[in-house]
């Protein structure tokens, strides 16, 4: 479990980017649910924490693919692969994230950057 942030730091409708490798986006929906998914869109290097949160979906800020926060599934191209979802625990006002041990679906540009030594 990684401590991410205080729940009070993410108002409803907002997000928090956790600088893990690869980074994780934590979303607090308008309905009060908290979800964590990989922050990087599976299509291109875009931060989903910067995206448009609507209901239980976040739309990539660049090319409008929508990811389901519960399942990680994507609705439409240009992204074709899901993002990983991570388990969230809230205790004493702190948000904790348990990182998935599945391999991430990073976009090609990020995979290349990692191969030459870390995220760009």
């Amino acid at each position: 479990m990684i401590p991410a942030c205080r729940l009070a730091d993410i108002p409803r409708g907002e997000s928090y980017r956790l600088e893990t490798d690869p980074p994780v986006a934590v979303f607090h929906t308008e309905d009060g649910e908290v979800y964590a998914i990989d922050d990087t869109c599976t299509h291109q290097d875009a931060s989903l924490a910067d995206g448009w949160l609507e209901g239980c979906e976040v739309e990539c800020p660049l090319h409008a693919s929508k990811f389901n926060l519960r399942t990680g599934a994507v609705d439409a191209p240009p992204a074709r692969l899901p993002v990983r979802t991570h388990q969230v625990l809230i205790e004493d006002g702190m948000v904790y994230v348990a990182l998935s041990d599945a391999p991430p679906n990073l976009p090609p540009s990020c995979v290349a950057a990692r191969l030459v030594g870390g995220m760009a």
Binding site: D50, P61, L62, H63, R80
Partner: protein
């Protein structure tokens, strides 16, 4: 409804089919496409597909294992709609009967009169167009891009990055001057010079010249007049002739001068046409049981009080859900306010994003960054109210503004 035919199998047609199933339609579903290909994504065709970074299989719009329980009729052009018999006639004489029809036939690239049959002259709309252009670009040489829209600006960018010698000819004051407004478009246009592209603005194109069996100069005659195209190959393009008398040497020419709605097949059907299929804000056409979506549809735009075709990817993706709801309910489904139009363009690695209507603005101000740094956010206002926003490498801030515009529109604002 027992059978619905979706005529057009690209983004809008596929999303209409998905919306039908999602909204509970369980009858027969027929998807008719003029191209032989399954639905594919077009935006990469002017960008990563040309460089080879994205291959054809990555363009597929359908998810792996997606099952729409539909009959696919591909490589079949629709040539007629009989609204009394309720049937779609195809070029190969086949007839598809359907109670409900979704028109999603899109638009076709305009060609430069007199350039047909001259090799090296390209338009870019379809996968086949993109394959041909990619093959030519890979060989290198001098490229002249004609037309300052998205296709032109993106092909100029892609080809410059690929190392070609690029000249970009634009009739207006700057590329994208229409969608972005002249002032901001001028700032964005600096990207081309930054990357060694020669930008030639404010001049029209008189014609193209070729070598080989063809006449050396192909006269265009009066602007807009039809010129007989000649048949078969007429040699290869050699130069682009400008209105101001200049001649630009060219090995490859890309013509990006817009697209015409594919509505010829609806002439005489009773479906009202007016630069596209005239339809309400919910996609309902003049004929009951027939709706229109995507680039061929001229939706009623309550902001402007007119019918307009908005040829953006996001519109083709988002609007079919409302049109299908209207089709299935016979027009009684309430239709929510549409989001303000949104588009993006990737040029030289820079993310250009725009939402709203520049044409409605009476002022525009840069609120973050600066055009000189090639990274900024600009807000367009009318009588003090935001009506549009432009982001150049300002993804996060842009998304906040885009949401704000959508919220204002949903509350009946002026966006």
């Amino acid at each position: 409804m027992k059978t619905v035919a979706v005529v057009g199998a690209s983004l809008a047609g596929l999303f209409a089919a998905r919306a039908l199933r999602k909204q509970g339609y369980d009858g027969r579903l027929v998807l008719i496409g003029e191209e032989v290909h399954r639905p594919y994504d077009r935006p990469p065709l002017s960008k990563e597909f040309l460089t080879g970074k994205v291959e054809e299989d990555a363009l597929a719009l359908e998810a792996d294992g997606e099952e729409l329980d539909a009959e696919w009729v591909l490589g079949a052009r629709a040539v007629g709609l009989d609204t009394r018999e309720r049937s779609v006639r195809l070029a190969d004489e086949r007839v598809v009967r359907a109670d409900g029809v979704v028109i999603a036939t899109g638009a076709a690239a305009r060609r430069l009169p007199g350039s047909d049959g001259l090799s090296g002259v390209h338009v870019l709309r379809t996968l086949d167009d993109a394959r041909a252009l990619r093959d030519d670009l890979t060989r290198g040489g001098r490229l002249v891009v004609i037309g300052g829209g998205f296709v032109g600006a993106e092909v100029a960018s892609t080809a410059a990055v690929m190392g070609l010698d690029v000249t970009f000819v634009v009739g207006g004051t700057a590329p994208l001057a229409g969608p972005l407004g002249a002032e901001m478009a001028a700032g964005v246009a600096e990207l081309h010079a930054d990357h060694g592209v020669r930008l030639v603005c404010g001049t029209g194109v008189r014609g193209v010249a070729g070598k080989g069996a063809a006449p050396a100069v192909v006269p265009l005659g009066l602007r807009g007049a039809a010129v007989s195209a000649g048949d078969g190959a007429r040699g290869r393009v050699e130069a682009v002739l400008l209105d101001d008398g200049r001649s630009l040497p060219a090995d490859i020419v890309v013509v990006g001068i817009g697209a015409n709605p594919c509505t010829d097949w609806l002439e005489g059907s009773g479906v009202a046409l007016d630069n596209g299929v005239r339809c309400g804000a919910d996609g309902i056409t003049s004929v009951p049981g027939v709706v229109a979506v995507g680039d061929c549809a001229a939706w009623y735009d309550p902001v402007f009080g007119t019918h307009r075709r908005v040829e953006h990817w996001t519109g083709a993706k988002e609007r079919p859900a409302a049109a299908v709801a209207a089709l299935l309910s016979g027009g009684t489904a309430p239709s929510g306010p549409a989001r303000p139009p949104y588009f993006w363009s990737d040029q030289y690695g820079v993310k250009i994003q725009f939402a709203g209507h520049a044409a409605r603005a009476d002022s525009v101000t840069v609120e973050d960054g600066s055009p000189a740094d090639r990274g900024f956010l600009a807000v367009y206002r009318r009588a003090g109210d935001p009506v549009a926003v432009l982001g150049v490498d300002r993804t996060k801030l842009f998304t906040r503004w885009r949401r704000q515009l959508a919220t204002a529109a949903a509350q009946g604002g002026a966006v």
